[in-house]
Structure formats: structure tokens, C-alpha cells
């Protein structure tokens, strides 16, 4: 017998569709780019600085934690980069450097790594980071003050803060079309609603986020805001106003859909998304924070394990045909 080659032996299936976590996260970052680039164009170099610092510091925090916990280096999956990107997009362009560092530290380390890294986090890491900043340094998120030195060609008021302080009269200052096209004051990556929708549709078509969550989230926002408005149009703003302001769209397409902290079955996804929309409007209309998206997403992350138990019966379970 001549010398034999050694062949690769393993179990089926022998094919794979070619997806990896890295391609998934790169697509996520790519989808976030239209909104982020618009933010950079609008807010200039400081916005670029915040985004760059957020992405790079998030990667470094993960690397540092990999070393501390003596685990394999995991930054090559771009998950930290995607988290950093989202944290940066939720900050105002003038956020000081230490806020960015603290935000990504909490997002990556407290939000993800201490649970064992990717896949183990019960909450969306980026949202955890922003929530801590929002509670600790509330004034940073006062977008009117933060962007005081900017000259814009439109109403330089943060729409949700204006709504909170001036009541529904503030709505007249904003056209829905302007809000969607980014003529509003806000954080770097969330002012350009049309861009976020574009990115969201891209992710949905590519199958990287679950469309059921995004759609039910948007539906939850619109329906709840509509009901509020139906009850008292003098106090509550219109559904479209809520949709295009604050973190709503980023929440619907990028935050609520984070894999590890969201459900995967159809009915739970719809409950989860709709709950997110409802809670966002409840916090905005009744709570004391101008924007409720961040807390609404943490709340739905909390109910995720519970509702994801609602699942279809597996083949052969609960049938009597024998």
C-alpha cells in the first residue's frame, strides 16, 4: 500500500452559508454609517472625534479585559467596534473625552464582558453604557446646551426637550420632513432619521436583524402615540413626531434588535418590539425623562428571557396521531 493522504474527517453538514460574526458586525457598522456620516458632516470634527474615540476605546477596553481575564482575544469579531459605534452615535458631538471613555467602558465591560463576552449579555451593552451616563451626567445629554455654539439653519432646539418644557406647542416648530432629513438638534448618529431607516432596511434585507422586532417596535411607537393624541391632542405630540425624534429609530433598528438580549421566536419578537415602543412613549409622555428609548430597551431586555419561552411546538410534540 502506498502512503495515504490524511483527509479531514468530521460530521455533516459539510457546507456553510459563509456567515461569520465578523461579517455580521461589519454589516451592522456599515448600516450605521449613513447616519453617522451625516452626523459628522453636520457637527464637524468634534463628532468625528467622539465616534473615533468611542470605537477605538471600546475595542481597547475589550482587549484589556481579554488580558485581565486571561481569555482569548476576541476583538477580531468587531463586536466591540459595533458597540463603540452605537455608543458614539448616541452621544452629542461635544461630549468630553472622559464621558466617551466611561461610556464605552461600561458598555463593553459591564454590559458585555463580565457576562462572559459575546452572546452572554442580558442587556444591550451600548444601551447599558448610555443609561449609566444618562443617569450620572444628565447635563451631557441636554442637547440644547451641548450644541449651544453651533449655528444651524433651522430651529436649534432639541425636539423632545422642547416638547417636555414647552408642551405640544413646540411641535409647530418642527416639520416632520425636516426631522426625518436631519434638521434637528440631537446626538451624532440619531438626527438623520432617513439614514437610520435606510441602514435598518439594509440590515433587514440582509437578514442581520430580525424585522419582526423593528416593525413591531415602530408599530408600538406609532400606535401608543396615536392613542395618547386621541385622548388629548393638546398635551401629547403626534406619532410621527415621536418616531423621528430622539433615539426612537436607532432603538428600533439597532438597539432593540441586539441578538443576545432579544427573543428569536415570532410571537415573543412581536411582544418584545411592541412593548419597547409602548414603554418609550409612556416614559416620554408620563415620565420625567425627555427620551425614554434607553430605559424602554433595558426594560424589554429584562422581559426577553421570560417571553421567549413562548415558542411553537416542536415536531411531534403535542400531537396524537399514533
Amino acid at each position: 500500500m502506498h502512503k495515504q493522504n490524511k483527509y479531514t474527517v468530521s460530521h455533516a453538514p459539510f457546507w456553510h452559508d459563509g456567515d461569520t460574526i465578523a461579517t455580521m458586525n461589519l454589516n451592522l457598522i456599515l448600516a450605521a454609517l449613513p447616519a453617522a456620516i451625516f452626523g459628522i458632516l453636520k457637527f464637524g470634527a468634534p463628532a468625528l472625534g467622539v465616534l473615533s474615540l468611542a470605537v477605538s476605546s471600546a475595542i481597547l477596553w475589550e482587549l484589556a479585559f481579554n488580558f485581565i481575564s486571561k481569555r482569548d482575544i476576541t476583538i477580531a469579531d468587531y463586536d466591540a467596534a459595533a458597540i463603540g459605534m452605537l455608543v458614539g452615535m448616541m452621544l452629542p458631538a461635544t461630549a468630553p473625552w472622559w464621558i466617551v471613555l466611561i461610556g464605552t467602558l461600561i458598555a463593553v465591560v459591564v454590559g458585555k464582558m463580565i457576562y462572559g463576552g459575546i452572546g452572554g449579555n442580558p442587556f444591550n451593552p451600548a444601551v447599558v453604557g448610555i443609561a449609566v451616563l444618562l443617569v450620572s451626567w444628565k447635563q451631557i445629554f441636554d442637547f440644547d446646551a451641548a450644541l449651544l455654539n453651533y449655528e444651524f439653519g433651522f430651529t436649534a432646539l432639541a425636539p423632545l426637550a422642547a416638547l417636555k418644557h414647552q408642551g405640544v406647542a413646540a411641535m409647530d416648530l418642527f416639520q416632520t420632513r425636516d426631522l426625518a432629513m436631519g434638521c434637528q438638534v440631537g446626538s451624532i448618529g440619531t438626527v438623520f432619521g432617513a439614514g437610520i431607516i435606510l441602514g435598518g432596511i439594509y440590515l433587514i434585507l440582509r437578514g442581520y436583524i430580525r424585522w419582526e422586532i423593528s416593525l413591531s417596535y415602530v408599530a408600538g411607537i406609532l400606535l401608543t402615540a396615536f392613542l395618547f393624541r386621541l385622548v388629548n391632542p393638546d398635551i401629547y405630540a403626534s406619532p410621527l413626531f415621536h418616531l423621528f425624534t430622539g433615539y426612537t429609530l436607532l432603538g428600533a433598528f439597532f438597539l432593540a434588535t441586539e441578538n443576545s438580549s432579544s427573543p428569536v421566536n415570532l410571537v415573543p419578537m412581536i411582544i418584545y418590539g411592541a412593548m419597547g415602543g409602548v414603554m418609550t412613549i409612556l416614559i416620554r409622555n408620563i415620565g420625567s425623562y425627555p427620551d425614554g428609548t434607553v430605559f424602554a430597551i433595558l426594560l424589554i431586555n429584562l422581559i426577553n428571557p421570560l417571553i421567549d419561552r413562548i415558542r411553537p411546538k416542536a415536531l411531534g410534540k403535542g400531537v396524537n396521531n399514533a
Binding site: H11, F14, L205, N259, R311, A314, A322
Partner: protein, 426 residues
Amino acid sequence: MIKRSFIKLTGPRLLCDRVEPDPKKPETIPIPPRLVLLLHEPLDSTRETLIKKGDMVKRGERLFLYKESTEYAVSPVSGTITSIASYTGDFGTIATYFIVERDEKDTSENEFAEFAETPDLKSADSFLRSLPGAPSLSRFLDPDRKINTLVIEGSDSDLMSTTRQYLLATAKEEIKRGIQILRQMTGVAKIAITVPENGNDALSSEGVQVFKVSRVYPKALPQMVMKDHLEITVLPGATCEDHGVTFMSVEAVISLARTYTKKDPVYDKVLTVIAKDGTRHLVKAVIGTPLHRIFKQFNLQTNERDRIIIGGPMTGFAAYTLYHPVEPAMDTIQIQDREEIPYVSDYPCINCGKCVRACPANVPVNLLVRYLEADLYEEAADSFDLQSCIECGLCSYVCTARIPLFQYIRLGKHQLTELESEATNA
């Protein structure tokens, strides 16, 4: 390898290949000088075997390992046994292989001839078990499970293979004859045949039900055929036979027809051989032909770390030697280049939900895998539907984190069976 499509709203849509409308005749591989015969019974080194090294065998002779053995291999040629040794397969199953050195005398032994006049289940099972297509006649002899439906598989269940479709298109008369024989032999109440959708159904006149099976993988897998066409859902952990249904390859039916017509068993097996670049060859080879003989015929090179896949890319198994023989139940042989082999990783589940979307059996794979990774097989079966899996492999195919999901599931099922047998033996 089929990559993911750019737009991907639903689960994967993998289509089974279709045989071309006017297929070429299979190329015949000459009978090699040395044949390898696999016998699915472990070799016990402490005992003396019935067949010994140096023994002469005749064509058609059944080779039993020990006196009380029920498993046998049939030698398709006459010659000398030059080697008997153990062969380790999937999950450590031990088989025995014989190497038969062919001689020119071609002496034959046709014990079967006297039983060939009247098709009878018992004699057929004791002589024809290793016919091409491996007719599963013993399943009809099981007193505990009464088989009332026989489904003949005329459509290939895995991707890439076209062997069965070729036979279905070219051997209609023999299929009809085979069905008659099977009906006479087994007295089974209902016979159905699966055919590819859009295929012609000239067989329907026979009192045989025709199931048109979709091209979409895994619609042609037995459990899916049962669910879609027979409206029987296989219970978790049960087999099709537990529900009175058995499946048989169309090649087995044809082999039976030929055998009873010739009154002499046949040994020629039709196979689809797929090269690294995807070129497809239809091959006729004698059972026991080592794979390297087939590759040599088509000048197919294999290199270190390539993969030789026997069966389809989703449900097959990998051979570790080119001396692996053509077996009765084999349909497809594929060579996968080492560059094409997808890597698997030890990343945790990221809960992206693609497996849940892909699973045709609604198994919560994302939860299941967490238990399987922690070796909690009983919990996995009780709460997370391990036993509902129909083993299509789609979860592994789509996994973004590249977890070997299907491998975990098969290991889980295997361990569970071990645990159960330990419990009954204790």
C-alpha cells in the same frame, strides 16, 4: 458550496439538484482486482472466525463472521480473502472488512436460485440484504412493528445527488416489476413513491400513490415526507417504522426486480461522483470497489486535508481512507477541497435566531445548544426538544457563530441512547 444569498429575509432555501432531462448512461468502472467488503459486525480478536485469511470465496457467497452471526456480506466476485480486519466508523462503531483478491475463474455459487421462483420475504432477507440500494426487508420481519406503508424514495433526499432521479427516469419498467415483487413478498397495504416535483408520473397507474416532493431541502427527508404527504408526525425519539412506515431506495426496488428476473443477485451500483469543481459523473461500480478506483477513472486528485464525503453535503459522512468501498446504500461521493471546508469555532451562541428560523422541526436550537454544550443531555431532551430533531443539518449550515450545532445534536442523541441503555442494563 452554496453561499448565503445577499437578500435573506427568511431561512435558507437550498434546492436539490435535478437530473438533466436526457441523462447520459453511467460510466462503468471495471471490476478492480481487489475488493473491500464491509460487514457491520465487530471483529472479536479472541475468537476464530468462520472465514479465514486465504479462504476461497465464490461469487454470490455470503460471508458470515461467526456461527451465530446474522449479518453477512456478499462477495460479488470469486477470489481469495487476503485480509480480515476491523474498521472504525462514525461514533466509534466497529465494522469488519474483508479484502477479496479476484481470480479469473469466476466460480459462482447461486444458493439463491432455488428461492428465486417465488419471491418470499424470509429468503430474500437472508440472501439479498446487500443488493445495490440495500433493501430494508428485515424491517418487514420485525414482529413488534407492523409495517403498513412502504415509501419508495425516487427523489434524492440530500443536495447534489441525482442518482435516484436518474434511476427513476430510466428504469420505469423495472420499478413496476419491483413494486409487484415487493407487494407479493410483503403484502404491505400501501405503497407510495416519491418523485421530484414537475417530474412525470408514469408510475401512478400501478395503484401506487405518487408523492411529488418539492426541490427545497429538506422536503425529501423521510420525516418531512411523512409529515407532508402521509400526514403522520413522527413522535420525538420514534422512528418511521414505529409509525408503520418504512422507506426504501428506488435502487433497491430495481435491484430486486433484476435479481428475480435473472434469478441471480446483481452487484452493480449506480453512484453520482462529484469532483472538487462540481462536475458530476454518473458511475456504475460493483459493490466493494474502493473509492480510489473510481477517482482514478476520472483523474480526480485528492490532496492532504481534503474531505471525501459519502452521501450528501448535509447528511453524509466523511471517509478517512480511499480504500473505503462502495457500499450498498451509498448514493453520492463528493470530494471537497481543503480550501472549501468551512471552519467551525468554539464561540458561544450569540442568539441571532437563524437556526430557529431554519429548523423545519421547530426545535429551539439556540436554547438547546446551551444545554448540549454543558453535557446536560436529559434536560435537553425533556425541555428543549432534542429528540424532535430530524437531522437535516440546516442549523449548522446557517450558524453565524459557526457552532457545530448538528454535531452537538447528534452527540446529544447518541449520549442519550447510551444513558438509556445503561439505565436498562443496570
